[in-house]
């Protein structure tokens, strides 16, 4: 029976451990700074035996070194220093070794010279995250004066206790501050991991739309090179100046078109190099580029493109970002419809804004999901989607371009994306 009980306990403690991040190491290091031997002993007794039952003999005067370390108790690791200088040296040494303290108990009066407040101020200069609890027999300093001495930014990093302290007070302060320290650090690690994961997802989302465009570009290039090579070959074999002239014209057109496609593709695949600068351009020109880049996919998926309205409106945009948004919306539309269908594009002057609409004739978005599709990490594409496409679109339009971005079901059929951008005045 006893064995089973132990096994269950062990299992339970494993489970609780697995809740914390794997590469986050909980820190239970506590520094005790006091020059009175008996007081130091009380700390050791309270913190060292707290987790083990009362029958366990106290591990007390086993070390004669001035800095005593007890490591046998898993709840806390205690390091004791008897003076200002010793404490500072220990903190410096341990920070260098990557072993910060979660918190410390500081006697205020440390003999002659600097006191516990000076010590903590000095320690915070080295390690601003360490929590400090001042322990004093005298109410010689008001809380306000400590606050102004240590600085307002450290308000939540210190506390105080009056001597004589009770066991419960020490234990509870120790637990409070070590767990607070751990929570803070763990959150920091998780935040940076989250940021990294988000950055990667944004990258991969970009790459997948690039891959889709790349397939089209590769096909397009095959055809263009075919025209160039074929016409050149025909020109060579036929001795007909008239035919040669038309052949060369075809070749020039094809190289021109290949170059245009390449330029656009370069911008799209390398947005870091494409300047984030904005330029004045007619809104429909971006749409023209999108249709060039997407031509192959549109054709192979048997999708009909209808340019319902094309108002000539000047906007100031980053052409690459806007291209990315429209490519993304077009890919979404194609995905939504499967192997055939229609996409309507329109560019409409609506007062001080221009409105670009991309509408497909697919099944639409379920009503209960309509508000979610723009949220980051929401996807209806299973593992293929990162759920970032529309979130990025929204960011680009609303943050980078001070515009508006909306997705809704079209009244009749399919999904409609509406983006509005501020209009630029035509040059006089």
């Amino acid at each position: 029976m006893k064995n089973i009980a132990t096994a269950v306990q062990a299992k339970a403690s494993q489970n609780s451990k697995s809740l914390t991040q794997k590469d986050f190491q909980p820190n239970h290091r506590i520094l005790v700074v006091d020059d009175e031997k008996d007081i130091v002993q009380s700390y050791i007794d309270i913190l060292d035996v707290s987790k083990i039952s009362n029958v366990v003999p106290m591990r007390s005067s086993r070390s004669t070194s001035s800095a005593m370390t007890t490591t046998s108790d898993p709840e806390f690791e205690l390091v004791v220093a008897k003076s200002y200088d010793e404490a500072l040296a220990i903190v410096k040494r341990d920070i260098k070794q990557g072993k910060p303290f979660a918190m410390g108990f500081f006697d205020v009066l440390l003999g002659e010279g600097p006191d516990g407040f000076d010590l903590v101020k000095e320690i915070h200069a080295i390690d601003p995250h360490m929590y400090a609890v001042f322990v004093t027999a005298y109410n010689d300093r008001s809380v306000d004066s400590i606050q102004s001495f240590l600085g307002a930014d450290k308000t939540n990093r210190w506390d105080y206790l009056n001597k004589p302290f009770s066991n419960g007070e020490i234990l509870q302060k120790a637990r409070n501050f070590t767990s607070l320290w751990n929570l803070n650090e763990e959150k920091k690690i998780q935040d940076s991991k989250l940021q990294e994961a988000q950055r990667r997802l944004v990258e991969s989302e970009k790459l997948s739309s690039i891959a889709a465009v790349a397939r089209g570009v590769s096909h397009e290039f095959g055809n263009l090179l075919m025209q160039i090579m074929g016409k050149a070959d025909i020109c060579l074999t036929e001795n007909n100046p008239e035919k040669m002239k038309t052949g060369l014209e075809v070749i020039l057109d094809a190289t021109q078109r290949a170059n245009e496609i390449l330029e656009k593709f370069k911008d799209l695949s390398n947005p870091a190099q494409a300047t984030r600068e904005k330029s004045k351009i007619y809104a429909h020109q971006i749409l023209d580029e999108v249709l060039v880049l997407m031509e192959h996919q549109i054709k192979t998926q048997n999708v009909k493109v209808s340019r319902i309205k094309t108002d000539k409106v000047l906007v100031e945009v980053n052409p690459t970002s806007l291209l990315q948004v429209l490519v993304n919306l077009t890919i979404n539309s194609i995905h939504a419809m499967g192997s055939s269908g229609q996409i309507d594009f329109s560019v409409t002057d609506v007062g001080d804004m221009v409105e670009i609409r991309v509408r497909d004739y697919g099944p639409g978005i379920k009503e209960e999901l309509i508000d979610k599709v723009i949220e980051p990490f929401f996807t209806t594409k299973g593992k293929q989607g990162t759920g970032l496409g529309l979130a990025i679109c929204k960011e680009i339009i609303e943050v980078d371009h001070r515009g508006e971005f909306m997705i809704s079901n079209h009244g009749v059929k399919g999904v409609e994306a509406i983006l509005r951008l501020p209009k630029e005045a035509e040059k006089e």
């Binding site: 397939r215 590769s218 096909h219 290039f221 095959g222 055809n223 090179l225 075919m226 025209q227 160039i228 090579m229 074929g230 016409k231 070959d233 025909i234 074999t237 036929e238 075809v250 094809a254 192959h296 054709k299 192979t300 998926q301 048997n302």
Partner: protein, 139 residues
């Protein structure tokens, strides 16, 4: 075997300029009976009509509505056309191996990758038709 310049050839490619080049190639070889189509679905109807005479099909792989592979499968499943020579044209290099395997399973006679010069296609045609060496023929 002697070259048959009146061989009825069906050419299917959706790209107008490429189609034009290929027609010129074929005429340059000396062929006089070339039927060119841009829509694979129309081509399929033409293939399925028994009274149409077809000696060789040359088709692009990537086309809207229907791929060249679908067309090839339909040809191979057609009792009248199951042995008709079929040359596939492809353009996406990254997909080549996969495509060739698929096409080989459907007994494609030969394939050629864009872009290609006139003599390359000519050699392929001569090869699949079992004609005497293309280079020794005068076009």
């Amino acid at each position: 075997m002697n070259v048959n310049y009146t061989l009825p050839i069906l050419l299917v490619d959706d790209d107008a300029m490429v189609r034009e080049v290929l027609i010129e190639y074929l005429k340059g070889y000396g062929f006089t009976n070339v039927k060119a189509m841009h829509d694979p679905k129309v081509a399929l109807r033409y293939i399925n009509e028994p009274k149409n005479s077809i000696g060789l099909i040359i088709s692009d792989w990537e086309m809207p509505g229907m791929t060249g592979l679908t067309l090839l499968k339909a040809v191979r499943n057609h009792p009248l056309r199951k042995n008709t020579a079929f040359i596939m044209i492809t353009s996406q290099r990254s997909m080549e191996r996969f495509k060739i395997t698929q096409a080989a399973q459907m007994r494609v006679s030969s394939y050629v990758m864009k872009p290609f010069r006139a003599d390359v296609l000519k050699a392929k045609i001569w090869e699949v038709m079992g004609w005497d060496d293309a280079s020794s023929q005068s076009a």
